[in-house]
Symmetry: D2
Subunit: 371 residues, 4 copies
């Protein structure tokens, strides 16, 4: 990794909580001359200010988690009359939602450097999104509520890598799992995996715990909340506090109180005014596995960071190549090079003490033949 | 589908057993004027002769399963001095191994028409390869051997779509499942899914049932067989009889007998000559879910056939377009168009009686925004 | 086992299908001088005649499966004016329902000899009822219907040993499993195991496959059938054809036809007469794992038979002791002696190649101490 | 429950941690006039002193968890020259190990009052031991170590109610689970459930996490520890710190340090002196689900407490009856009366919002008939 230094690059890393809880990783990055900006328990406004400062600090490379810094940097240099210098020549991002935002930025020609979408590397999304978030969501849920998961009706909103991991672990803890989806292929997969698949409005009537895993906005709406049972628990595993319509919760509740650390009770009167129910929201709708628990297990973060760092290194090594003119418009958001992904997975197998087979020459030849 | 007829196309369908066991599908295809060639219980030589005749019959479109007919057709027209007319203008294939062979054919410029690799459609490989083969392999195994799967050590060779489905179902029946792989990313996934991952030579020593799911050649070799326990059972779920080295089984056995329909016992003396063991091979190493059971459940075959037929229709509708000259070399093996895949999955959801959500306009806009 | 012969006992064995499919076990029993009466594919009337003949043949010991022969023998000797000689001095039975019937017989003082309820031995009911029937039910269901179990709504009626095994395996094949129960403790257990628990009448509305596992009569009634969806499949895993109210199916159907071997379609008009639905019954409501498949795997039957034979041997060795007068009324239906159960389980562990720990002396002492 | 007061009983409740973390239950008991003695985070010597004081305080009824107070009370009144008054006329205990100790006390004629073994009620041991401890052990393990459970080799020592629950949940989190047992029937059950079964000494070589669930002493010994891999983690889920031989850990380690709250690292040199390894012990070998997490979920504790209180009430109502002379020696450790168990389970079903079926009259009659 030392070669990152050879370029004298000033790398800015803005990351959500998991990093900050793992000081040894921060120390390692700092030892490479990477400026790391990450704090646990920031308020929303501190977080925003921090992002703006980072964007304005003329970074050479950006590692990000949710594309917050990429977006701020783009705004900074693209604003009318902006005199900000275009210093950044490459970056990475490690989430599904970050990748979606970066593609949108690129479609509008606001992205000025290549970004490797680390999330799309199998060693990232399978392991981090599926197995990492799967476990840490269960952990966050039990820590904050203390409830027995066996027998509970758990509604998993979204069956992407995160949702499928959360659904599998909830099932593994004995819950009855319901899945809602907008993608018909994923819905079919959830169905054949043995989960109940239905529309959100139908799930709203029977769920006891709702876990949003979509990266979308407003996937639990006020009409869903109106249908919910007394005592329903809402938690977000996806992206920021947008997935659950928290504002409408505040609007319909006539009393809100914190009943246990990180658990807000919203007392809601029925329309007729004759009955009341309580809806519980975990961590103000912020990501439950980071807020209530300690984020991902270290085994998982190591895979993701290896991907991030090797990708940065790849970009840094190709700095000048990537500046060459290309006749045809090329997408700037790109996948992790396959050789990096394989390198990371072989490193992980070794760390787990596992040995696997290799293709023999006759097998490679067979793969390449048509007989 | 009637439009297939408008082209007056002569479509040849050569398929392995599952089709022939489902006469209503054959009848449907025939009603469209599609010539179907499929028989159950052919001998290997009858099968080969059948393929050759089909290849020589000047088909317009070819639906295939394993690329046998595509390869035969290509040989037919490309042979030196061949006078065979190039009639075929498109085709499909529905297996992993067929796709591999077609790509090899294309790399050698022997493929003369576009082929849609139906296997790569999620509605095909997730449902057919994973859930379909998962169930039918368990079915084939129980029917032919009658053994209790609970507690058995089952070695699944290969953890692609087929292998992961077979592993999940064996676990669901109470087996202890071991996975062998050559791909480090899949190996990691199997590990995190809770399966034991090891080299074949190590698995050989402890397995009781071996299921090959690779599409490769020689994945169970004579050295593996030498390590196996007395009573080990070998079955192939992948491609033809190449996965298990059946020839070497015959070579090392000093007695071979059929102990039950479809089960051959190979009695093998140890090198020292002092001990003996028996290895059981199911169906001569031919695909166990077709040979011992009845192939896939109809729900699954419907998805695969819908993909095949809609893909053929797509090719037929674009017949003249696809003939237009293209400056750049284009790969002739192509994926199922996304709109077909979605159409098939929505049709399947409806058939299963499932309703799912749709993205609202504000959500689509959110996906497209970078804020 | 040879000592059974020393008593010159004439043992009658009447057994349902599984035995008859395992000729080597019949041969072993015959070699001991045990007269085995078992045939596959008997008609109901042949079966009844066979039972009557056996009951009248002056057996010394009776091995039974469902208590049919015990009941027939008791009727034979207890009938007014009966001159039948009381020859039998002991017996066994291996089912839950047989045990229930024997206890009822004993309460009425109609049982004249001790019977060991083999079903109550853990090595019998855990392994045979749970794991054996679990697998063979899945096997029978797939063989007869060919349907994909993944995603199917499977209603398991009764959550005893049989029902919990069937529910676990259906879940393992990817089904969504609903449990109905009358016992509140078992219902709670099913709930915490992650299954949906509801009343039969509610399950009737949503189930696609119904599997009765109760040993009771009329657990699927005409009112349940009236609620069922078009295409619902009914199969019995419990006791005889009493569990599903087959008679009422015939009464409400205006057409009955056999659509595939062992599958009867009942076409039923709705009350308004405007819509129709089809209900499918497997094997006329007879036990699906015996009728459609081949009964239990041999590993399981060996455990059950070992229990049966060792229990018979135990009774034979105590023949004279058990005749001694006892002041107090003793229950004649008795559990398998613990030493037999342990012997069977250690034998099974050895057969499976498993080694386990033993208590050390200090641990035995600790178990016996109160400090 | 008010009737407990009618007897003016002074009930002493000594309980381990779970109670103390649930102040509302303590408050409820106090409101009934029950003196509750429970504190979190006592030292071992404070705990012992507390027990002695309680034993000497002339209780009328004793609720216990592990039989500590029952044993102390018995010592108090039975000691030679003891002038302690025999005040206690009944008690309960809610653990497996407590029941074992009480039986040992009774065999020595040192128990002077009836004790209801609450642990033997299905509503206690199935729900508390299996599902409650299953979840809270996973919770305690993740909280204290932060490790990813997916892919880990977890050795569960003992496959009783606790062990089977822990094994199921570890499997549900993606671990590879190995079971060790001394009871051949349970070992067979673990095997058929799909777990690997082996001797402790063999498991020691491959395990990464060891969870003791036996209620026995010394189930992980110094010879097992000698075989373990570098980095192995030991945690106790059973009874006190006796299960893991902690003393020998201290003896063989040449350095012990606390690496994270509740995790002690024992650095051990190999016999040759050439290599070193670290073994990690959680919470000094004290019960991990209480020490690292917050004990059982409240849904589970409610079932256990309902059983305890209803049993106490039962004893209090029969106070005078139980003092009547009985000719024959009767065992003083008795099961929870079946009607209490049913009442608790029906109450729990209602709390979970579940409705179940009831036997109809014709079904009750059928159960009682032999035809």
């Amino acid at each position: 990794m030392e070669s990152l230094n050879r370029f004298g690059a000033k790398i800015l890393l803005v990351a959500a909580n998991p990093l900050s809880s793992q000081p040894e990783i921060v120390a390692f990055l700092s030892s490479l001359g990477i400026e790391v900006r990450a704090r646990r328990d920031e308020t929303a406004s501190e977080y925003e200010k921090e992002i703006e400062l980072a964007a304005a600090s003329q970074p050479d490379l950006i590692i990000d988690d949710g594309a917050e810094l990429h977006v701020a940097y783009a705004s900074n240099i693209s604003g009318r009359n902006s005199r900000a210098k275009r210093t950044c020549f490459g970056g990475t991002d490690e989430t599904t939602s970050g990748t979606i935002r970066l593609r949108a930025l690129d479609r509008r020609r606001l992205l000025t450097y290549p970004v490797i979408a680390v999330n799309e590397a199998p060693t990232k999304h399978i392991f981090d999104n599926k197995y990492g978030t799967g476990q840490s969501t269960i952990d966050g849920l039990i820590r904050s509520t203390g409830l027995l998961l066996a027998g509970k009706v758990v509604v998993v909103v979204g069956f992407g890598w995160v949702g499928s991991g959360v659904a599998a672990r909830a099932k593994g803890m004995g819950s009855r799992v319901i899945v809602t989806e907008v993608n018909p292929i994923r819905a079919l997969e959830a169905h054949l995996e043995g989960f109940e698949v239905m529309r959100m409005i139908d799930a709203a009537c029977i769920g006891e715990v709702f876990l949003t895993c979509t990266g979308q906005t407003g996937v639990i709406t006020s009409s869903d909340i109106a249908k919910m049972r007394d005592g329903a628990i809402l938690a977000n595993v996806g992206h920021f506090e947008r997935e659950i319509d928290v504002r409408s919760l505040f609007r319909v509740a006539d009393r809100v109180s914190e009943v246990r650390a990180g658990i807000a009770e919203f007392e809601i009167k029925s329309q007729s005014g004759r009955s009341r129910k309580s809806i519980f929201l975990l961590n103000q709708g912020r990501v439950v596995n980071l807020a209530s628990a300690e984020g991902h297990p270290p085994e998982i973060m190591q895979l993701s960071f290896a991907n991030q760092l090797l990708s940065l290194h790849y970009l840094a090594s190709r700095k000048h190549k990537s500046k060459k003119g290309v006749a045809k418009r090329v997408e700037l958001v790109m996948p992790v090079p396959r050789e990096i992904d394989e390198m990371v997975s072989r490193f992980a197998l070794k760390a787990f003490g596992l040995k696997i087979d290799s293709l023999r020459k006759d097998q490679m030849k067979y793969s390449d033949s048509y007989h």
